[in-house]
Amino acid sequence: MSSPTNITPIDELAGAVPDGAKVAVPADYAGVSMAATRALIRRRVRSLHLVGVPTSGLQAELLIGAGCVTTLESSALTLGEYGPAPRFTKAVRDGSIRLIDATCPAIHAGLQASQKGTPFIPLRGILGSDILKNHPDWKVIQNPFAEDDDPIVAIPAIRPDIALFHAPLADRDGNVWLGRKRELVNMTHASKTAFVTVDAISETSLFETEEMAAGVLPALYVGKIAVAPNGSWPLPFWNGAQGDDSHMRRYMEMAASDSGFEDYLEQFVFGESAMA
């Protein structure tokens, strides 16, 4: 339905992410575009407002370490079993990034509010938590349908400029297949556009069967697509590779120091060929 012109090289995709953009990214298990992350660091993007949907991991860690991030809005930044994320930990200690700490369903609700074009969605829970005390955007309102005192948290819409993620397939019309990772659909609907890296291009339409169609993000919502086989490396991919355990261990060692992290970037980001 759209012309194939939105399939671009990955560095062009990264080049189209403006400094200061609000970028929504998925959790480490849902299809993170690490290939685009490295391309963003190579293009030396600045002042990103990252939204972890609902959390982030290595992607935010690298971008924070490389000085690309002003604000991290997320429910967590975790490297899982590898332990505390060294660059994130340092940035928090130094106060060098602004934190908007949320809770997972509130990130989803904020995106759904944007998706519905409504100013907010009220959400149960959260009351009495220190994340409510510290969150700059949430408001406690009275449930208008309750007769008694019934406070509820109103979560305002989160509208990212770009949803950025990795998926198995796109077709020549610009449709993307993402299976049951519907948080990617929600974050895309909520965002002004989506930039997607894919393992491969399908030469037949993803709408050809209803089985495939059920997992399609339509081209209408997709701004740019770049082919990046195994583009979530070194993270695992739900529809493909296992995580690269030895690389992650190497990262943890190198990122323990400022200079080690610089070496890591030099070797694995600026010298991307090392990946192959």
Partner: protein
């Protein structure tokens, strides 16, 4: 008692707490609770539904990352597990970090869904293996999710109890305090009192945590190890000998 035996005893203890549930959801990074849920399902067919989040093969959600939270709000999740870098005597949990937020040091990953799920899932089991004055404190530095709420706050769920490597506590909602239920065989009341940073109710003759039922242990070793190995391979390697040859065992 080997470390593997201790972990199996925890699995069996937790499994027994899930027997009255229809649907138990477990995080992908929670092998002991996950193994317990799988064991309970295998042993008693109850819980009927076990959902391992973040896994592909053992996660039946198809609505995206938000489905867990909606499902909890619908009253369709009966039990869940939360941990915490700090847990205090009012069952408040801290997943954020120590010191003055936002300049936490150390900073931990963050609150995840705890601030929501703790309100909506009837049986939230706090699980934290490390039992020390560092983890079990009088008052947490940051409330990721509060253990209790005022009466007018909409709250369908909350803390059921706390399980550590040393003991099992139940939480008394009315008193807003933990009560020591049993002490694991590797510990003692004195050890608990020495290593718990919050005040709690107990009796001098608090019983020892019963040893796992041999039949339940047998089911774990025989029927559940393969399933556990699929979801938590590293953990299975640690608690089941010869896990790598498990295909040949069956």
């Amino acid at each position: 008692m080997t470390v593997a035996d201790e972990k199996k005893a925890l699995i069996c203890l937790i499994a027994g707490l899930l027997r009255d549930c229809n649907h138990v959801a477990v995080g992908a990074a929670s092998p002991i609770p996950g193994a317990a849920a799988l064991l309970a399902k295998a042993a008693w067919g109850s819980p009927k539904h076990v959902n391992i989040l973040g896994s592909v093969a053992n996660n039946f959600f198809t609505g995206g990352g938000g489905e867990l939270f909606d499902c909890a709000a619908q009253g369709r999740i009966d039990a869940f597990f939360l941990g915490g870098g700090q847990i205090d005597g009012k069952a408040n949990i801290n997943l954020m970090g120590l010191g003055d937020y936002p300049k936490s040091s150390p900073r931990w990953p963050g609150t995840f869904g705890s601030a929501y799920l703790y309100f909506l899932i009837p049986k939230v089991i706090l699980f934290r293996e490390e039992h020390s004055r560092r983890t079990l404190v009088e008052k947490v530095d940051f409330i990721s999710a509060p253990g209790t709420s005022a009466d007018h706050i909409y709250r369908k769920g909350g803390p059921f109890g706390l399980i550590t490597s040393k003991a099992f506590f139940r939480f008394d909602k009315d008193k807003e305090r933990f009560r020591l239920v049993s002490v694991h065989p590797t510990s003692s009341l004195e050890d608990i009192l020495d290593n718990t940073g919050f005040h709690f109710d107990y009796s001098e003759d608090t019983p020892e945590t019963p040893s796992p039922d041999p039949e339940l242990l047998a089911i774990l070793d025989r029927d559940v190890r393969q399933k556990v190995a699929e979801v938590y391979p590293n953990f299975a390697d640690a608690i089941f000998p010869m896990t790598s040859g498990v295909e040949h065992v069956k």
